[in-house]
Amino acid sequence: MAATVIINRLIGENATITACAITSGSARFGTQDTNTSPCATRIPSSGSNYSYWLTTQLNCTAAPDNSLTNIKWYSDGTNSFGTGLQAVVCPASAYASAVGTAGSSGCILNVTNHTGLTGAPSIFTTYTSGNKLTVAGSIAATTGSFGYRVVMQLQVESTATPGNSGEETFTWEWDES
C-alpha cells in the first residue's frame, strides 16, 4: 500500500502539541493559538501588527515501504492576501507555541522569539514551483510526523482593510520509495 501523508497544523503549548489536519480553507491566521476562527489581527494605526505564527508539518498516517524524503514547500508566487498584508515563512527544527496578545498582535516571527527557526524568515512568494523551499528531514518505513516544520506569519500594515483577507494556497512535496 502506498504511504498516506497529511498536512497538520500544530497548536498548543510545547508539552501538549495538538495536530489539526489542514483541509481546504481550514487554516487561518489570527491572534489566538487555535485552528478555527481565531481572533483577528488588529490593523495598526502605524507600523505593523502580526498574526500568531502558524506552524505546519507533514504527518505520515500509512507507512511507506521504504522512506519519504526530499521534502519541499512552495507558494503560487503571488500575494493574494490583499493590500497591506504580507506573509513570511521559515522552516523550524523544533516547535514553539505561538504567543502574543489575543485580539491585537502576535510576537514577531524571528530567531529570537522562535529559537527553532533555521534562520530569518523570507517573504513567502520567494518560494515557487521553480524555486522550492527545501525542508529538512525524512521518515523511514513507519508512521508519524516527519520533517522540519514550516512556520508562517501574516504581517498587517496600517494600509490593510478590515475583514477577511484573500486566500492563499501552499504546497508540500515529497518523494516516496
Binding site: 500500500m1 502506498a2 501523508v5 497529511i6 498536512i7 489542514i22 483541509t23 481546504s24 480553507g25 487554516a27 515501504d65 521504504n66 522512506s67 524524503t69 526530499n70 514551483s129 521553480g130 524555486n131 522550492k132 525524512s138 492563499e168 494556497t169 501552499f170 504546497t171 508540500w172 512535496e173 515529497w174 518523494d175 516516496e176 520509495s177
Partner: protein, 136 residues
C-alpha cells in the same frame, strides 16, 4: 501501479508478492537488472525502462543506474498530485546524466525528462538512498 524488476537471467522481482505483501525497492538486484517495468494494478504494462547490458567499452561512460520514486504533492486546498519517476542515471565524462520517465498516476500521461534542473517544477533531483550510493 507497481513495479517489476526483470533480471538478466530471466527471473524477476515484483513489488507485489502473491500473498499481497510487498518487496522493497532496496531488494532489487541493481547489478543484474535487465528491465524495470511499471504495471497497472490489473497487471498490464504501462511503461518500461531498458537496462539490458549495452556492452559499452568506453571508460568515460558508466553503467545505467536505476532510479525510481513516487513524487507526491499536496496543497492546503486538499489537491494532490502523484507522479512516478522511473529511469536511470549514468556518469558520462565525470558528469551524472539522467533519463527519467515522469508518469502521472491518475492520467497515465508520460513525459520523458532529461537532465535534472534544481529549479524545475517536477524534473529535479532525488535524495539518494543507501541502496543508491552509486548514484552519488
Amino acid at each position: 501501479m507497481y513495479w517489476v524488476a526483470h533480471y538478466n537471467d530471466g527471473s524477476q522481482l515484483s513489488q507485489l508478492k502473491p500473498d499481497g505483501s510487498r518487496n522493497n525497492y532496496n531488494d532489487i538486484d541493481r547489478q543484474n537488472l535487465n528491465a524495470f517495468v511499471l504495471c497497472r494494478d490489473n497487471g498490464s504494462v504501462l511503461a518500461a525502462v531498458d537496462f539490458s547490458p549495452d556492452n559499452l567499452i568506453d571508460p568515460d561512460i558508466g553503467p545505467k543506474r536505476l532510479i525510481w520514486r513516487k513524487r507526491h504533492s499536496a496543497n492546503s486546498n486538499g489537491q494532490q498530485l502523484h507522479i512516478q519517476l522511473a529511469g536511470w542515471q549514468r556518469r558520462v565524462k565525470g558528469r551524472n546524466i539522467q533519463s527519467i520517465l515522469y508518469i502521472n498516476e491518475e492520467t497515465e500521461a508520460i513525459v520523458l525528462g532529461g537532465q535534472w534542473l534544481e529549479n524545475a517544477p517536477m524534473m529535479h533531483s532525488i535524495v539518494p538512498l543507501e541502496c543508491e550510493t552509486d548514484l552519488i
